[in-house]
């Protein structure tokens, strides 16, 4: 089977997307020899000159025409596949089965996805969502299929984590804690990611301050990442440069708070795994629109770290053991609601047990079984294998091939028109009844834990 992997010519500016893309490519390279994989690059949008973009498109079309792949898989978050597929259509090239690895920017790119739906109607297309909730969100925009028994074109394929870099290691823990100057009895809570409006780091600071008054052990909140002033662009609330820093600065100004707080800036992958091992809990209690998965959290889990997460989006996928605690969150008429009490209780619970290397090893093992590159590659193999191989299909009567894609509903177009950077959508902030609620309720729905 011939698979053409399509990605950007340059790595994404988003660190997590870079890693996700690299790991997806690695997964395809792990497929058995019966899969022949080739690559085609598209010009990354921001950097491309018109000529450069056309040259890459031409090259992509030529490969498709000459090599005749059985499947084309789009593995990057950007550029959006719409332009490349339009070029293929113009070249009168038959569209083979299309595979889209869907990233968190699905809603942000709603207009492009809607147009892609129009362009690829009647083709065989599959969408690999990174979490069950993302699958539900994407499915909510699909037009119903003619055959109600046909399988959904949306499948769950988690983003894979590099199991060579992110592992539980007691020596790394020691190293990380020494670098931070933490005493043996200090409980370290770690946040890694962007420091932006929707990530709720200021809320986490307040939470740790309150937990410190309850904990017998000294606490330390370590924050790694970069400040991001994008705000909530989907709601038309872009922030000004410096806002994210100012917000954090205000949150940590108090001397007592400052003592609990350490900011370590942007950290490379090697040092990150040491910090995940060093942490007694890794926390992320944001409500980011793009939170379809949570790459940083998956990496932390691979290092065996206990997790405190908002019950939002892809975070629910990490509920693999009692070492992962999801904080009650809901959509109310007033907007998104987060239970501080629940968060405090669960954080204290996570920090209470005496540190146990065995528990860390067990947590790391559970994550590796779900999210490591080889494991996800095996799942990818199953998804890509001809469905005839699955014996149950004969008995269930499900369509033997990838179902024909019917396109997206007008609902997606409506969404793309309502949520834009240049048009503040204040009704979305009062969630009930609004389009926001209809779309993002999927990020709060109950899903089966792995």
């Amino acid at each position: 089977m011939k698979i053409l992997l399509v990605h950007a010519n340059n790595p994404s500016n988003w660190l997590s997307c870079q890693m996700i893309r690299d790991n997806i490519v690695k997964m395809y390279s792990l497929l058995p020899n019966t899969f022949e994989v080739r690559h085609a690059a598209l010009a990354a949008e921001a950097e491309a000159t018109r000529f450069g973009r056309l040259r890459h498109l031409q090259n992509f079309v030529r490969i498709c025409l000459d090599w005749q792949p059985d499947k084309i898989a789009f593995v990057d978050n950007l550029p959006h596949p719409l332009e490349a597929l339009t070029a293929l259509r113009f070249a009168s090239c038959h569209l083979p089965e299309l595979i889209f690895h869907v990233y968190g920017n699905f809603t942000w790119e709603a207009k492009n996805w809607f147009e892609l739906g129009e362009l690829t109607k009647g083709t065989r297309a599959r969408f690999f969502a990174a979490s069950p909730r993302q699958k539900k969100l994407v499915e909510s925009f699909l037009l119903p299929q003619e055959n109600p028994r046909a399988p959904s074109p949306v499948e769950v394929l988690p983003f894979a984590v590099d199991n060579q870099r992110f592992i539980w290691d007691a020596k790394l823990r020691q190293l990380g804690r020494t670098q931070l100057g933490l005493s043996d009895d200090t409980k370290m809570i770690f946040y890694s990611g962007r420091l932006s409006l929707q990530k709720g780091v200021d809320r986490l600071i307040q939470l740790v301050v309150r937990a410190a008054t309850l904990s017998r052990a000294p606490l330390c909140l370590v924050v790694a990442g970069t400040y991001d002033d994008r705000g909530a662009p989907l709601l038309g609330l872009p922030m000004t440069l410096g806002c994210a820093f100012k917000k954090m600065d205000l949150a940590t100004k108090d001397r007592a708070v400052g003592k609990l707080f350490k900011f370590v800036g942007s950290i490379n992958n090697g040092d990150l795994s040491a910090l995940y091992c060093a942490a007694d809990a890794v926390a992320s209690i944001g409500f980011h629109h793009d939170e379809d998965f949570g790459m940083a959290i998956a990496e932390a889990g691979m290092c065996g770290a206990p997790l405190l997460l908002s019950n939002w989006g892809g975070f629910a996928s990490f509920n693999v053991s009692t070492q992962c605690q999801l904080v009650n969150s809901k959509l109310t008429p007033g907007g998104l609601e987060f239970s501080n009490f629940d968060a405090l209780t669960k954080l204290v619970r996570l920090l209470s047990p005496i540190f146990s290397p065995a528990a860390r090893q067990e947590q790391a093992g559970l994550f590796a079984a779900k999210f490591s590159v080889p494991q996800v590659a095996a799942r990818l193999h199953t998804l890509l294998s001809p469905p005839q191989a699955h014996s149950q299909i004969a008995t269930t009567g499900i369509e033997p091939n990838t179902p024909l894609f019917n396109g997206f509903s007008d609902h997606l177009f409506q969404f793309s028109q309502s949520f834009r950077e240049d048009s503040p959508n204040f009704s979305a902030l009062i969630a009930t009844g609004a389009l926001y609620e209809r779309v993002y309720r999927h990020y709060l729905e109950a899903v089966h834990a792995h």
């Binding site: 500016n13 921001a46 950097e47 000159t49 409006l197 929707q198 709720g200 809320r203 309150r210 008054t213 309850l214 904990s215 017998r216 970069t226 400040y227 705000g231 909530a232 709601l235 609330l237 922030m239 000004t240 440069l241 410096g242 806002c243 820093f245 100012k246 917000k247 600065d249 900011f263 800036g265 942007s266 409500f287 109310t332 007033g334 907007g335 998104l336 609601e337 987060f338 239970s339 501080n340 009490f341 405090l344 209780t345 204290v348 619970r349 209470s352 204040f426 902030l429």
Partner: protein, 340 residues
Amino acid sequence: MLIDIERKLTEKPKSNAAPQTEESETINWLADFISLNRLFPKVSDSKVGELLRMLWPFAKDHVGPALPCFLMTGPAAGWLMKRQQVLCRDGALPLLNYSYDHPTPPPCKVLVAEELLPLLPEAWRPRTRGFRYVCRTVFTEQKRPKKLILTGLVHDLFASTATLKSTLESLTSLWGPQFYQDIEILTQFRFVPKIGLKTMDESEWWEFSRILESTLHGQHRVLKSEELLNLSIDDTVAYCEVNSRLLVSDSYLTHFFLSKGAGLIGDPTKALMQDSDLAFSHYHGVSVTENDAIATRPRPTTHELTALKSVATLVAGDCQAPWQDWMELWMMHEPIIWSR
């Protein structure tokens, strides 16, 4: 221990300071947006608004501990009175203009770019402090930058050919003649044909490009404006703005790159960030000059005024002229933008 803690959690608070019990928080991004994002005075004068749009992205709003704002937007006294201090982003010309219109200083402390301090009237001095950028990334002979970003707006009032020449020469004199061959250079210059009444001939743009090409030996990559704001930045990146500081003394792009860990290069005021400095990000901030230092600073010297004099149509004659005379001279020559 856990039971003990859970009991504590469900206890009623004994005081306001004690932890609260049952509570939920409604996420209110709009409140954050309003409280952090809308701190700027409204631009009521359409001419000024147009000028600021023309100076994009250098004049784009940014937020910091000392509220950065353009005095040329004419913030109301009431608005200024509510602020402890503001950081004046205006360049030399609008600042002179504002101080001429407002002989008494604003009712709050005003931070002004150090090199512009001598241009202010005496009455302003008690309320004015100087500022200069400080960053954690400081380049030395041992730690040379790997990448250089050069930006500016090509116009006599922002980045003239003379300003470009002197900026590039100062970099060569600081880092040696091989500097431009040893470093990856990214450039983004935008030609602005007209600011206010001051128009620029297109030949100026070609001359500007020629100087750039010949000095950098054609080894630089020209960035698109949207690409500029999407670059990966770390502490190996040096930022250099070709800016005469006639219109904007505190630019958005400087803060943008420094806040991502880049360092300044070719700026004689570069300094390592200290805890006492006003932090604008984890990586950079401004250092505030004490009043004593300002008092001892001499009035504009020939050298300092030479920068202003480079706008030949604007300022002519004796640069040694005292403040009032100089101001009159400037006014006489029909201020380009703020004609009234």
